[in-house]
């Protein structure tokens, strides 16, 4: 059966097993199993079967699961620095957001991530607006009930909408019934969560595109117990998988776009003038974040500039 010296590791993921991010987690594990010649073996718990999204970080620290994938935004207030990544900065695509997230962590190593081994980060493509009615101008948004996460609620309000904060799980029914009239989310969810069935239009508001940064972390004790050469394999494979996640997000966005078009839904581009106007409306949200962070003695301004530079560096659409 199993050799005595094989290290058994559990990997929890809040993504469902059919999601490409979980499939990447499995291929990541396979690669490590191969390269370490079977010295490590993974057991997967996708779809929140062991730890749900908001429970992940604490659960990995406490050793409920050895490795975990989830998003920073699930645990508001716990990652004040990493929250910078989730601002509506105008990300052009998921690969850019993913690259910036990893660079950001490498450069600043925020204290809030002490206590776990960060294996890799990734981030989805721009969060856009998907609505049941046609939207071309900022005025069309006034009073629109928009489903959003707690964090994107500020952007939704700044644009004149009425934010209704709820998880992705309840979005389908809420849109179907008209409880909300629009949702702020990457286009990928139109396919992944079937929401294309219940919206009609996607508004390409790239200038205010936000992202949600995600982590793959490992319990520190388990990490320290790994032999040096095995740790090296983990590091190498993880770096090699970062672009796979980034490109995966872009591929998923492409499929989401094709899916929603195939159902007869429309994609509405935003004029340059409107794009600028929308960006100017959410600017105070970014300023507010900077203010709060500077108040805590953290370099909020520098963070935002770093992300802007990153978008210039990586972001050719």
């Amino acid at each position: 059966m199993v050799q005595a010296d094989v290290v058994q590791l559990t990997y929890s993921n809040f993504f469902p097993p059919t999601h490409f991010n979980h499939q990447l987690a499995e291929s990541w594990g396979k690669e490590i199993e191969t390269r370490t010649k079977g010295a490590v073996k993974f057991t997967y718990f996708p779809g929140g079967a062991l730890l749900k999204g908001p429970e992940m970080f604490d659960g990995v620290i406490k050793g409920v699961s050895d490795i975990g994938m989830s998003l920073f935004a699930y645990t508001a207030g716990r990652f004040p620095s990493m929250e910078a990544l989730d601002l509506p900065m105008g990300y052009p695509n998921g690969n850019t957001a993913t690259m910036i997230a990893n660079d950001f962590y490498k450069k600043y190593r925020p204290k809030e991530l002490d206590g776990v081994k960060v294996l890799l980060l990734h981030a989805h493509g721009p969060g856009l607006l998907h609505a049941k009615k046609e939207i071309n101008r900022l005025e069309d948004l006034k009073g629109l009930k928009i489903r959003c996460t707690g964090f994107s609620a500020k952007a939704a309000a700044a644009l004149g909408g009425v934010p209704v904060a709820m998880g992705q799980g309840g979005a389908y029914e809420a849109l179907q019934k008209g409880v909300v009239e629009a949702t702020l989310t990457p286009i990928e969810t139109l396919k992944g969560w079937k929401q294309a069935e219940v919206v009609k239009y996607t508004i390409e508001c790239y200038s205010v595109g936000y992202t949600t940064a995600m982590y793959v972390i490992m319990n520190e004790k388990k990490w320290n117990a790994l032999p040096k050469e095995v740790q090296k394999v983990f590091e190498d494979v993880s770096s090699a998988w970062i672009p796979k996640h980034g490109q995966g997000w872009d591929q998923a966005d492409k499929e989401g776009r094709e899916f929603t078009l195939s159902l007869g839904n429309k994609v509405i581009p935003l004029s340059d003038e409107q794009s600028k106007l929308w960006a100017s409306k959410v600017a105070p949200v970014i300023d507010e974040y900077v203010g709060v962070l500077e108040g805590k003695g953290l370099p909020g301004k520098e963070y935002v500039q770093f992300i802007r530079d990153g978008i210039k560096k990586y972001g050719k659409k």
Binding site: D58, A73, Y74, T75, A76, G77, R78, P80, E112, G143, K145, T149, G150, F151, A153, V162, P163, V164, A165, M166, V179
Partner: protein
């Protein structure tokens, strides 16, 4: 000893009153949120508040539910045994239950502490989570007291063992 049973009962009843009011608040909050949403001004964060109140409903009712022995238990087999054996089993399982709730109470405090030091808050209203964990911890501590009381009454023969709702 005369004061202790009364104190425990009053505590359990008081916590259950909080649970009841939380349930009413949950109803009122969601009801108003739905109405306000029709007028395009929903209560932002209603979702989170409902979760907080839901936790209060379940947690603050456990002591009362346990005091009135309203939990579901399988008694088919036990009823075949002699009263002596039944009493013995009741004592053993009660000690196990006390052990469970001591663990739960203890870990909820530690979980709450972790929430407090990490600064984790709810997404929209940015309310801290730790008071709920401390609340659950306190509620489960009262459950331990209730279980001790029930155990004491059964040992001294003032109550028969059993799990059926009693008023």
């Amino acid at each position: 000893m005369a004061g202790f049973p009364r104190l425990v009962r009053q505590l359990a009843d008081f916590l259950n009153l909080i649970a009841g009011w939380s349930l009413l608040a949950m109803t009122a909050l969601t009801f108003s949120d739905v109405i306000m949403r029709l007028f395009r001004c929903p209560i932002l964060g209603a979702y989170e508040m409902v979760e907080f109140l839901g936790a209060a409903v379940a947690a603050f009712a456990i002591a009362h539910t346990t005091l009135h022995r309203a939990h579901v238990a399988v008694d088919v087999v036990v009823l075949l045994f002699s009263p002596k054996v039944q009493k013995f089993l009741y004592i053993v399982t009660h000690i196990l239950a006390i052990f469970l709730f001591v663990l739960l109470s203890f870990e909820c405090i530690r979980y709450g502490n972790d929430f407090r030091t990490s600064g984790e808050v709810s997404m929209t209203l940015r309310l801290p989570f730790y008071p709920i964990l401390y609340g659950i911890s306190f509620a489960t501590m009262v459950v331990c007291l209730v279980l001790v009381l029930d155990l004491w009454f059964v040992i001294t023969g003032r109550e028969l063992p059993g799990f059926r709702w009693k008023n």
